[in-house]
Amino acid sequence: MSDSFPADTQEPVLIIEPGRMEKNYWADLWRYRDLFLILAWRDVSVRYKQTIIGILWAIIRPFLTMVVFTVIFGRIAKLPSDGTAPYALMVFAAMLPWSLFSNALSEASNSLISNANLIGKVYFPRLIIPAATLVAALIDFLISFAILIGMMVYYQFVPGGHMLLLPCFIILALLASLGPGLWITALNVKYRDFRYIIPFVVQFGLYVSPVGFSSKVIPEQWRLLYSLNPVVGVIDGFRWCILGGNSPIYMPGFLLSLAIIAFFLYLGITRFRKMEKTFADLI
C-alpha cells in the first residue's frame, strides 16, 4: 500500500495486481525505445545473414512478380493501364505497397512466437516486438524503391508533385498491416492455427487486391464494396502519388479504406493489450 511508503517522488513505485492495467503503459513504451531500436536492428541485420546475394533478395522478388503480372494481365489479358502510364510501371506502383504490407503483416503476425524466449524471461511492453518488425519490412521497401526509380528512368516517366505525399501513404501501409498484425500475433500465442492462416491470406490478397490490374477495371457499382479491402486504398494512394493525374483517387472508396484501417488498428491495439498479460503463461 502506498501509505506505508514515505512520499518519495524520486523512485517509481510499482504496484502489481491481477487485472491491473498499467497507467503509464505508453510512457513505458517510450522509455523502452532503445529496445525497440535494437530489436528492429536485429531483425534487419539477421534477415540476410549467410546469404550470397543478401539484400538483393528484396529487389528480385517484387521485380519478378511485376514482370509476370505485366505479361499476364497487361499483354495476355490486355487489361487497360491507368491513363497513359506504362503497364509495368502501374503494376510496380502497386507491387511496392503490397510487398510492404504483406511483409509487415506476416512478420508482425509471427513476431511474438519467434521471440518466445524473450517473453518468458524479461518484462517490457510487448507491443515493441511486433512494432519492431515493421522496420525490417520498411527497409526492404526502401531498397526495392530503387527499382521504381530505375523504371521511371527507363520509361522516361517524370512524376508530379503528388510524389511528395508518398511518405504519408507509406505510413498508411504500415498502419494497415500493424492493426491486423497485432491482433493475429496475440491470437497466435494462444491458437497456433493463425500461423497457417497468414501465408494463405497473403497469397490470396495478392490476387484480390488491385496489384496486377488497375482498380478502375472494377465496375463502378462494386467499387465501394471493393474498397472494404484496406489495401485497395493504400494501393490507389500509391498509384496516385507515383502516376499522378493518370490515376485519380476514388474518394468514397479511399475514405472507406481509411476507416477500415483505423478500425483494425483500434481493434488490434485493444485486443493485444487485453491479452498481453497472459502471453508469458500461454506461449
Binding site: 518519495d8 491481477p18 524479461v122
Partner: protein, 205 residues
C-alpha cells in the same frame, strides 16, 4: 521507519492443467475417431469463448503460489529455497512483471532488473559485440551505459579475440561467459536473479 522496498501481500498464482482420462482395455478405431471429433468440437468452443487450449480430458486447478506475504528492506539480499516445483521461479516471474498474479498485490519501490536466465535474447547469427548490445538493452541498460562498460564486459568475459565472430561459433563456455559478463554489469536498484550463477569453469567462478 523501516525502509521497505518490496512488499508482497497474499500473493497467489493459479494454473490450470489437464489430465488424460484412464482408458481401460483396447481402443477401437471408432473410439479414436469419436474422440478426435469431440476434441475438435471442444477446441472450437474454447476458441469461441477465448479460452486457451489445454490438452487433456479433465481440468485441475493448481496453485503454484498461495497466500505468500513478505517484506524486503533496502539493502537486503534475500534467497528463496525450496524443492523443484515449489513456486520459486513463479514468484520471481511475478516480481519481474513477466506474468500476472491471480490474487494478491505486490508493491515495489525502485527500478527492477530481472535475470531469470543468462543470455536472454542472444541471437546465434550475431557477433559477440552485437550480442553485448542486444542482451544489455534487453536487460534494461541504456546504450550509453553499455558503451561505457563495454571494455569491462569484454575483459570480464575474456573473449576479445572472438568479438566479431557469430556467437553460434562460440564454445558453450565462452557463450555463457559472455552472457554472464553482460548480466554482471547490470546496476539496478533491485535485482531479481534465478539460479543463473551456476556457470563457468572453476577459474571463472
Amino acid at each position: 521507519m523501516s525502509d521497505i522496498v518490496i512488499k508482497v501481500e497474499n500473493l497467489g498464482k493459479m494454473y490450470t492443467i489437464g489430465h488424460q482420462a484412464e482408458r481401460g482395455g483396447y481402443t477401437a478405431l471408432r473410439d479414436v475417431l469419436m474422440e478426435n471429433a469431440r476434441t475438435i468440437w471442444s477446441k472450437t468452443k474454447d476458441l469461441a469463448t477465448g479460452k486457451p487450449i489445454i490438452q487433456g480430458d479433465t481440468m485441475e486447478e493448481v496453485w503454484a503460489l498461495k497466500d505468500v506475504s513478505f517484506e524486503i528492506e533496502r539493502g537486503d539480499a534475500v534467497g528463496i529455497i525450496g524443492r523443484n516445483g515449489a513456486g520459486k521461479s513463479t514468484l520471481l516471474k511475478i516480481l519481474s512483471r513477466i506474468t500476472e498474479p491471480t490474487t494478491g498485490r505486490v508493491t515495489i519501490k525502485g527500478r527492477v532488473a530481472s535475470l531469470l536466465e543468462v543470455g536472454t535474447g542472444f541471437h546465434p547469427e550475431l557477433t559477440g559485440r552485437e550480442n553485448i548490445y542486444l542482451n544489455g538493452t534487453i536487460l534494461g541498460m541504456t546504450r550509453e551505459e553499455i558503451k561505457r562498460k563495454f571494455d569491462e564486459i569484454v575483459a570480464f568475459a575474456e573473449v576479445e579475440k572472438y568479438l566479431d565472430t557469430p556467437v553460434k561459433r562460440y564454445s558453450s563456455g565462452m557463450y555463457v561467459r559472455l552472457a554472464f559478463a553482460v548480466a554482471a554489469h547490470l546496476e539496478p536498484e533491485i535485482l531479481v536473479v534465478d539460479e543463473v550463477l551456476a556457470v563457468g569453469d572453476a577459474e571463472f567462478q
